[in-house]
């Protein structure tokens, strides 16, 4: 294992970030780079402040879609995983489909979802996010439900525990960390998918739409401000689910 001092691990990325920002600002100013090529960090920050209300509105829309998609996809994924863990044929049948869903661009379904649910509502975007969330949550939860350590399995048998008792005492708590890992992975996918879905149509709100229209009007600093908003949104989702995952797995890492 490589040993790095704790301060180095924390300081190094911060230093890098500051250096990059400073270089960026310097280059833009020194080389008189036009804003339509690359705006300076300061102008982006300024635009962000000025357009904050619009950015916030976009965050609420895209974030709301991502959240709804996350909830729907997670619930569906967990239920499906439970069924697949109990009913072998379901698992076998769904395996190729889920594997395919993991590699095909789900966002490609956006246009038809807008047709099916209407392009004046957010439902299509929420469903895209839900589909993207379903796959990692399903796969991770299923893996968690399947892995029971043999010694725990023997223990339950030695106690003549009923299947339900064994599930409650060993399988479910053991699967929980896997579930939360799946949620953490899914949270970023939810935001990304909700945003990409906006590129394919639907109502004229959301961060993705705002970025495209700002770029179309050559207001690049504003476009970057919306990008900054979407980065913040992604980070918030990630950090919350990361915290939930850490909380759920704090005692489960030990080989006991």
């Amino acid at each position: 294992m490589r040993r790095t001092s704790r301060t180095a691990t924390v300081i190094a990325p911060i230093v890098l970030g500051v250096v990059v920002l400073a270089l960026w600002q310097a280059c833009v100013v020194l080389f008189k780079v036009k804003p339509y090529v690359l705006p300076s960090p300061s102008s982006i920050g300024e635009q962000f402040g000025r357009a904050f209300d619009a950015v916030w509105a976009g965050i609420l829309v895209t974030g709301g879609n991502a959240l709804i998609g996350l909830v729907i996809g997670a619930v569906a994924g967990i239920l499906a995983a439970v069924i697949a863990a109990l009913v072998r044929p379901v698992d076998e049948l769904s395996r190729p489909i889920v594997a395919a869903a993991a590699v095909v661009p789900i966002v490609a379904l956006s246009p038809v979802l807008y047709t099916m649910f209407g392009s004046d509502v957010q439902t299509g975007r929420q469903l895209i996010a839900a589909l993207a969330v379903f796959v990692p949550v399903y796969l991770n939860t299923l893996r968690g439900l399947r892995q029971v350590r043999p010694v725990h399995r023997d223990l339950m048998r030695a106690y003549a525990a009923t299947p339900w008792q064994a599930t409650r005492a060993v399988t479910l708590p053991g699967a929980l960390p896997f579930l939360f890992t799946g949620l953490r992975i899914a949270s970023s996918l939810a935001v990304i998918s909700a945003l990409i879905a906006e590129y394919f149509g639907g109502p004229a709100d959301g961060l993705g739409r705002s970025i495209t229209s700002a770029a179309a009007y050559s207001n690049y600093a504003l476009a970057y401000a919306f990008v900054l908003g979407s980065i913040i949104l992604g980070l918030v989702f990630y950090c919350i689910t990361l915290a939930m995952e850490r909380l759920a797995t704090r005692h489960s890492r030990s080989p006991s």
Partner: protein, 269 residues
């Protein structure tokens, strides 16, 4: 009072696609009297863990019978007549130490206050009362095993089945655990079937040592080694002449196994 364990004419065959049939056990005859401590010792592959699993009804014999307190192994398991400790402590990482010891009591419908009382008793017995609210990942290997033993004793079973419970511990901790186990068995008066690959451990703990040989797994011989009553056995015992003599006797019994196999997995000292 019927025997604690009676194994009669038991064989266990495992079939794999690649290796064909493996005779893990063949023609096993073993009787354990109530309150008796019997060790199973032998090189890797002699079937000692398999035999223990058959007694625990974690597996079924291919032929022969296993009876525990006069009942079938299955019935004994359903009636929860034994407590079991595995080589890995097998503690549930999401439960506290107290929660782990309570587990069998919980599963078998013992009420809250009674559970807590019994758990406190047991933790006191193994010297871990201060750790009731800790989690397994905060404990050392030795402590985890003590919790596992406390858990095995939770329902005051008259038979304890232990599969190399001290195998993963260092030598000093191991000897300490052996001392503790001897005193616990003296107090509870339970019969014990103890799997080990350490000759000194078997000799220190047991009333009788069953020496097993591999391929197919058979009991070669059973040696009486009772070195004083359980209450008399303490650290100094390991230095006495009788102890060394008994260790030599067991070692002798283990020798004369087919030379090609060697005595893999044995602590010969």
């Amino acid at each position: 009072m019927s025997d604690a364990v009676r194994v009669s004419g038991v064989s266990k065959l495992f079939g794999t696609e690649r290796k064909g049939t493996v005779a893990a056990l063949d023609g096993i005859e073993l009787t354990v009297a109530p309150g008796e401590f019997v060790s199973l010792i032998g090189p890797s592959g002699c079937g000692k863990s398999t035999l223990l699993r058959l007694i625990a009804d974690l597996d079924q014999p291919t032929s022969g019978t296993v009876s525990v307190f006069g009942k079938t192994a299955r019935q004994a398991r359903i009636d929860q007549d034994y407590g079991i400790a595995f080589q890995q402590a097998g503690l549930l990482p999401w439960r506290t130490v107290g929660g782990n010891v309570e587990l069998p009591l919980e599963l078998h419908g013992v009420g809250g206050p009674a559970r807590r009382r019994r758990t406190a008793e047991l933790l006191d017995l193994v010297g871990l009362s201060d750790f009731a609210d800790r989690y397994p990942d905060q404990l050392s290997g030795g402590m985890q095993q003590r919790v596992a033993i406390a858990r095995a004793l939770a329902e005051s079973p008259e038979l304890l089945l232990m599969d190399e419970p001290f195998g993963a511990l260092d030598e000093m901790t191991r000897e300490r655990m052996q001392n503790e186990l001897v005193s616990i068995c003296a107090e509870t008066g339970a019969a014990v079937v103890f799997v080990t690959h350490s000759i000194p451990e078997a000799v220190f703990l047991s009333d009788r040592v069953a020496v097993m040989s591999p391929r197919p797994g058979r009991i070669r011989t059973i040696l009486p080694v009772r070195l004083g009553s359980a209450g008399d056995r303490d650290e100094d015992l390991r230095e006495t002449g009788e102890f060394f003599a008994a260790v030599s006797a067991v070692r002798e019994a283990l020798h004369g196994m087919p030379a090609g196999d060697g005595l893999r997995g044995l602590d010969l000292r």
